[in-house]
């Protein structure tokens, strides 16, 4: 009881004062509003259609989950370039089980059982891949960029070898419903994503592990001297990142009804962009989950807007690059002004 009152008194009283104490988040909200206004003018209000919001509800979870995985490794001052590769590999494992082991004339219970098996197998794949990254980085002291650069190739390569470079198609109806259905008017992938992001929020903001994660990122030497096992924290971070990636992989195969070794490679740049835009410092230690979520929303809004205006993928790549650099510049000048 006492503890809970303490916590409320420490917290800012309302949303406005919370914004004042977090300039990064305030800037992000201003950017969001500007993007909203500009897009609504340019598309003539079409961006506000129910259909568009619904399609965003299906698209946003993939990008946002990748961004959360990226956020975790960035909080420790590292980076995980292998998330998209892990997602594809885990998706392929699940798709293989569902297309090869599941009998064609299976009844609902058997199907459900096999879906559970595929789910577990794919999450295990993600966990093994993530643990491998963690082992290289934590135990063997590989720089995170090089370790995940290598495993990105390795995992994509493994997926290519398994599938022979072809897409696996024809998943059970039940899986497709999961990826494309609605529950109480809300897209199921969005519900799935909400649950996972709530779990990640608890993990990073309300557990000792989350605190240690940040401390490791802001000062690994001090963290080690404070009797923290930096190795085990790093290992668990990349493990979690791998599991998150495999969940994203499941979402992707359910929505697209196919699994492919080289799906969605452009998500990598976007996930880094969302993390940086959301106020995660690439050097580690700082940043909050809510920033990442708003940033993912901004990026998805922009992507939907670009699609409506029939912009090519190349213009998108150009825009993402520009946005990444502009955000970092604004953050730098703002932080310098605060220092004065």
């Amino acid at each position: 009881m006492n503890q809970s009152t303490n916590q409320t008194s420490l917290r800012p009283r309302n949303f406005i004062s919370s914004l004042r104490s977090d300039p990064d988040f305030l800037r992000l909200n201003v950017i969001t509003i500007v993007v909203f206004v500009v897009l609504s003018i340019v598309t003539g209000g079409r961006i506000y259609s129910v259909a568009n919001f619904e399609s965003m509800g299906f698209m946003l979870p993939e990008l946002a989950l990748f961004s959360l995985a990226m956020m975790l490794s960035m909080l420790t001052g590292g980076i995980d370039l292998s998330i998209v590769a892990i997602a594809n590999l885990a998706g392929i494992v699940a798709a293989l089980i569902l297309t090869h082991l599941l009998p064609v004339d299976a009844n609902a219970t058997t199907t459900l059982l096999w879906i559970a098996v595929a789910l577990i197998a794919s999450v295990c794949t993600g966990a093994v891949c993530g643990a491998f990254n963690g082992l290289l980085i934590a135990r063997f002291q590989f720089p995170a960029i090089l370790a995940t650069l290598g495993t990105m190739q390795l995992f994509t390569g493994a997926a290519l070898v398994i599938t022979d470079g072809k897409a696996i198609i024809g998943l059970p109806e039940m899986v497709q419903t999961f990826g494309n259905g609605n529950c109480l008017g809300i897209p199921i992938p969005f519900l799935f994503f909400s649950i996972i992001s709530a779990a990640i929020w608890v993990l990073t903001a309300r557990t000792p592990f989350g605190l240690r994660l940040r401390l490791t990122g802001s000062n690994p030497v001090a963290a080690a001297f404070s009797a923290m096992s930096v190795r085990s924290i790093l290992l668990r971070t990349y493990l979690t990142s791998g599991i998150l990636a495999s969940a994203t992989g499941l979402l992707i195969i359910a929505r697209t009804n196919s699994a492919k070794a080289d799906y969605g490679t452009s998500y990598l740049l976007q996930a880094i962009l969302v993390s940086v835009l959301g106020g995660i410092r690439p050097s580690g230690g700082f940043g909050r989950l809510r920033g990442v979520l708003v940033a993912a929303l901004v990026l998805q809004l922009l992507a939907s807007g670009f699609n409506m205006l029939h912009f090519s993928n190349f213009i998108k790549e150009f825009a993402w690059g520009l946005l990444l650099i502009l955000t970092m510049m604004v953050n730098y000048y703002a932080s310098r002004r605060e220092m004065k």
Partner: protein, 331 residues
Amino acid sequence: VSKLFRHHEFVLLAILVVFCFAIGIVNPAFRDPSNLFGMLKNCVTPGILAIGVLVVLISGGIDISFPAVAAFSMYVTCRLAQQFAWLDHIGVLLLVAAGIGCLLGWVNATLVHYCRLQSLIVTLGTGGLIRGGLLAFIGTRIITDIPHSMVEFSKTSVLRVESGLGETVGLAASIPIFFVLAIVAHLILTRTMLGRGIYALGGAPESARRVGFNISRIQFFVYGFMGVLAGLAGILQASKMRNANPFDLAGIELTVIAAVVLGGASIKGGTGSVLGAVLGVAILVVLANSLILLGLPSQWHKVATGLIIILSTGITVWRRNQTSLLTGGPA
């Protein structure tokens, strides 16, 4: 310490030689001059890029925008040469591409130096910006009628040898250019104050600043040099392929960075040598070539590349830990 580093390059050379002999015994086609010269020619583009990456890595940064810079400067130069006929001379084309590359490199340098941004994130952004800009606003069409001088250049050879099959094969003219660039980079790094500054900046930036090195000049040189080399590599690549493909070179950054790390450079800066980087490239090119000669299916190539990156990083990290144990320095 320098003895140990020399040791690392010696190890690489030994690996390369043993490897070549082993493949030569398994498949005699490997020993044919046409294959050997072909492999040398394949070393040129990644080799030139590796020299640039090496210099950036030594200075403590990283650049992953160079494939985009290379493709951009190559494609724009070819488009310019179509407009202005007087540009159609290989030397002029190389100069123009190097100039464009240098300007793009300076954009990276400005962001890294004046805005104090992480070089990985900066070059990830500029890479997307440059590639996206090239494909969205300049063109996606592959130019097949490249400038005449580039076609001529690709036919020029400096040394002719009779191959095992009785045909004459020539050593491509791009290979001496590569060697000259490698020697120039080696001399800059080891014989000039600028080179000392690059190592100092990568080893301990704050100390380098206090000792009085001009950090901004070093940063601009490092990223500019990377851009110049990317421009040159782009033109030589287009000349080799006999077309200007704006999609070309995408993804080569992984191989090149792996080669440089294999060559003994640390991603944290302060160490590395040109000879090591060149040997690293040679090992990777020979390996890629032998994967085909040994009949490994193409699906496995990505797995092999990944394993090589992990193994080469592992060897470098392991060797560094050994070194620091011997000298008593921090791990």
